[in-house]
Symmetry: C2
Subunit: 386 residues, 2 copies
C-alpha cells in the first residue's frame, strides 16, 4: 500500500496581483501537473486519433476519462483485470475522471434523477443501469484515477427555482454520502493510491444558490472543488459572473476545476476568476471537423481560401502538423476525407491549448497576466476564418 | 536541372540459389529503397491515419500515391504550386505513382476504353474526364514521382480471348506513345529529376498473351516492368503461375513490380517468383477494420477472445502499438469506435509488412530464403483468429 498523504498536495506558487489568477502544482500518485491546467479528453480511454505518447509530447500533464463510457465499455471488470485505468490505457500521468452522471444525463434517452441516484439506459444497447453516489466512486476506485468526482444533480438551463433548490439539496446529500464512502476506503484507490475527491458546486446562474452550494460542500471539506452546470446555454457574461461568485466561496488552498469548458477565451476568462483546471472536448472535436486554432482565432481548414496556402496552420507553433505540413495539404486531406487530417488537426489543437496554458502560467508567474489577457482578448476572435 | 543518369539505377546484390528471389537497391532522385520492397499506399496523399514521420519510422522507404485521386483532389495545379507531390505531402523519399487508369476503371460508373485513352466520371461529383497515355504522364511529371506508370488496358477476369487480345494491342500501343512522350521530356519530371517509366504487362492468366505482352514491352525498353491485371478473381495458383511465366520474359536487370498485391503470403510467393516491389491497400484497410497481422496469421481484434488479453498484438513486434498497448485495450478502442484503434492497427500492420520484407531481404542475402519460405508458409494461416 502506498503512503497516504493526509494533506492535499496542491501548492500555489504565484498569485496575480490584479486578478484571482494563480499558478501552482498539484502532486498526485501518478506525478504532478502544473496549474492552470487543461486536461485533454480521453472519453473512452483514448484521446481520439492519438496515442498517449503523442498526448504527452504535446505537453499535456493530465487527461480526463469518462466513467460513464468506461463503465459501459469495456466494463469495470476488464479494467480491474488490467490493473486499473492507467495500466489499461498506458497513461502513466495524473488522471481525472468524472462521475458519469452528466454523460448518463446527456446520452441516455431514459434518464431519471431519483433520491438514491440516477437510472439510465446505455446509449449503446439500451440496457438499464443505475448509478448511486457510492457506485460511481466504487467504479472510480477501480479505475484508480487520481482526481475523482462525486455524483451530482445538474439542472438544465434555464431551470426554475424549485428545480435548482432540489438540485442543491440532492447534490449536497450525495456529496455527504460520497465523502462517507470515500473515507471508509481510506481515500485510496483499489490499487492503494491516494485519490482526491472533489465537491461539485451547482446552482445554475443564481448567485445565492451557488453560494449555498459552495458553502455546504466546503463545510464537508473536499480535496478540491468543481464548478458544474455551466456552459449549458447561459450567456458568457453569466457564465463568468457565476464562476467569479462561486470562487469567492471556495477555500483559496484547494484546486478549482471548471467542468467541460471551454474555448481558448473561456480558459483565459476562467483563469482570471481563479480557476486551476479545465477539461473540454472542444479542441479535439473541432479538430476532427477541420477547425483549428491559432492566436487570432479559429480557421475552418476546409475553406477554399486555404487551397494554395502553403504556410503552416500557425507560424509560431511547434506541433508536428505545423512543423511539417501546410494548410493547403491538411485542407486537401480534409476534403478527401482522409483520417490523417483529423490526426494532424488534433495534434495542433491540443498543442495550441497546452501552449496557451504554458504562456498563461508564465505570465502569472511574472505578474503579467492582466496585460496578456488584454492583448489576447483583443487579438483572438471567436468568428471563424475560412 | 539535375544530372540525368542514362542507366537504370537498380542494382541486384543477392540472388537466391534455389528460387528466382533476389535482393537489391534502387536509387532514385529522392534516395534509395531496398528490394524486395513494400510500398504503403498513400492513396490521396496520406497513408490513412498516419503522419509521414510515422510511415518513415515503421521502416517504409517508398510509398505509392494514386494519380487518379490526386488529379481529382486537390488537382494538379495545387500540387504544381506546392513544388511537386514530395513537397506537397512532405514525403522526401522515393515515390511511386500509378497511371490512374485502374482507379478510373474501378471507381467510375461511366468508364470507357477508347483507342485514344479512357473516359470516366469522377466518383466525387460525376464530372467527365479523359486520360490519354500522354495526359497521365504529364500529370505524373508534375507530381514528380520517381517511379511512374503508363496508361494500360486492364481486362476484367475472366476475359475472353478477343478482349485479352485487344488489351495487349492497346497496352503496347499506349506504351509506345508513353515512351515517346517521356523521351521527349528527357525522362525528367517537371522539377528536373529523373523519372523511371515502367512497362505494364497484361494478358490475364494466359501464358501466351503474358509472354507476348512482356516481349513487346521489353522490346520498347523500359526502366522496369510492372505486372498488372492480377488478383482480380483468379486462383492464387493461377496468380503465381502467371507471375512466374511473365518474369521469365523480363530482363533480369530491371525492377519487377507486382501491382496492388497482396497478403503477407502473397509477398513471399511473389518474391519467390522474382518480384522486387509490391504495393497494396490491404494492410492499412484491414487495420482500419480491426484485422491485424502476426507471424501466425490474422487476428480479428474485435473478437471477444481478446477482451482480457493483456499481451501485445505480437510479442516480437517493435511497433508503437505493440511496445505500449495491449490487445485488450486496442480491442476495446475498436468496439468503442475510437479512431485511435485504427491508428494503432495501421502502425502495427505496416510495421509487420516492413518487418516481413526486412526478414526476407536478410534471408535472400544469407541464401536461406527457401527454408524461410517453407517455415513461414507452414506457420502462417490465412484463416482469421478471433
Amino acid at each position: 500500500m502506498a503512503v497516504v498523504s493526509e494533506t492535499v498536495s496542491f501548492a500555489i506558487d504565484s498569485e496575480d496581483k490584479l486578478t484571482a489568477a494563480r499558478s501552482g502544482v498539484m502532486q498526485t500518485a501518478h506525478g504532478v501537473f502544473q496549474t492552470p491546467a487543461f486536461a485533454p479528453v480521453a472519453t473512452a480511454g483514448s484521446v481520439k486519433t492519438l496515442l498517449f505518447e503523442e498526448v504527452r509530447s504535446l505537453g499535456a500533464e493530465i487527461v480526463l476519462s469518462n466513467t460513464y463510457h468506461l463503465y459501459l465499455k469495456p466494463g469495470v471488470e476488464v479494467i480491474r483485470q488490467a490493473g486499473g485505468l492507467h495500466r489499461f490505457i498506458n497513461w502513466g500521468g495524473p488522471m481525472l475522471t468524472d462521475s458519469g452522471g452528466f454523460q448518463a444525463y446527456r446520452l441516455s434517452e431514459f434518464f431519471d434523477y431519483q433520491e438514491e441516484g440516477v437510472s439510465f439506459r446505455s446509449h449503446w444497447d439500451g440496457s438499464p443501469h443505475f448509478f448511486s453516489p457510492e457506485k460511481v466512486l466504487e467504479i472510480q476506485q477501480v479505475l484508480g484515477s487520481d482526481l475523482i468526482m462525486p455524483l451530482d444533480f445538474c439542472p438544465p438551463y434555464p431551470a426554475d427555482e424549485a428545480l435548482v433548490a432540489r438540485s442543491i439539496r440532492v447534490t449536497t446529500e450525495w456529496a455527504k454520502r460520497s465523502k462517507t464512502w470515500w473515507e471508509s476506503r481510506d481515500r485510496l484507490s483499489h490499487w492503494g493510491q491516494r485519490q482526491f475527491l472533489f465537491g461539485i458546486v451547482q446552482g445554475s446562474t443564481s448567485p445565492s444558490w451557488r453560494k449555498r452550494s459552495a458553502q455546504e460542500l466546503v463545510e464537508l471539506e473536499f480535496d478540491g472543488y468543481a464548478l458544474g452546470g455551466l456552459s449549458l446555454g447561459e450567456s458568457k457574461k453569466e457564465t463568468f459572473e457565476t464562476v467569479g461568485i462561486t470562487v469567492e466561496h471556495l477555500p483559496a488552498d484547494r484546486l478549482r476545476y471548471l467542468m467541460g469548458m471551454g474555448t481558448p477565451a473561456d480558459l483565459v476568462l476562467g483563469i482570471e476568476q481563479g480557476i486551476d483546471l479545465f477539461d473540454c472536448a472542444l479542441p479535439t472535436r473541432n479538430a476532427r471537423n477541420g477547425t483549428v486554432y491559432n492566436w487570432e482565432g479559429k480557421l475552418v481548414l476546409k475553406g477554399a481560401g486555404f487551397k494554395d496556402d502553403f504556410g503552416p496552420i500557425d507560424e509560431r507553433c511547434g506541433c508536428p502538423a505545423c512543423r511539417n505540413y501546410t494548410r493547403a495539404y491538411i485542407r486537401h486531406l480534409f476534403n478527401a476525407k482522409e483520417i490523417t487530417a483529423m490526426h494532424m488537426a488534433t495534434l495542433h489543437n491540443l498543442w495550441f491549448y497546452q501552449e496557451l496554458l504554458r504562456t498563461v502560467r508564465e505570465k502569472i508567474r511574472t505578474n503579467e497576466f492582466t496585460a496578456f489577457k488584454k492583448n489576447f482578448m483583443e487579438r483572438y476572435r471567436e468568428e471563424e476564418i475560412c
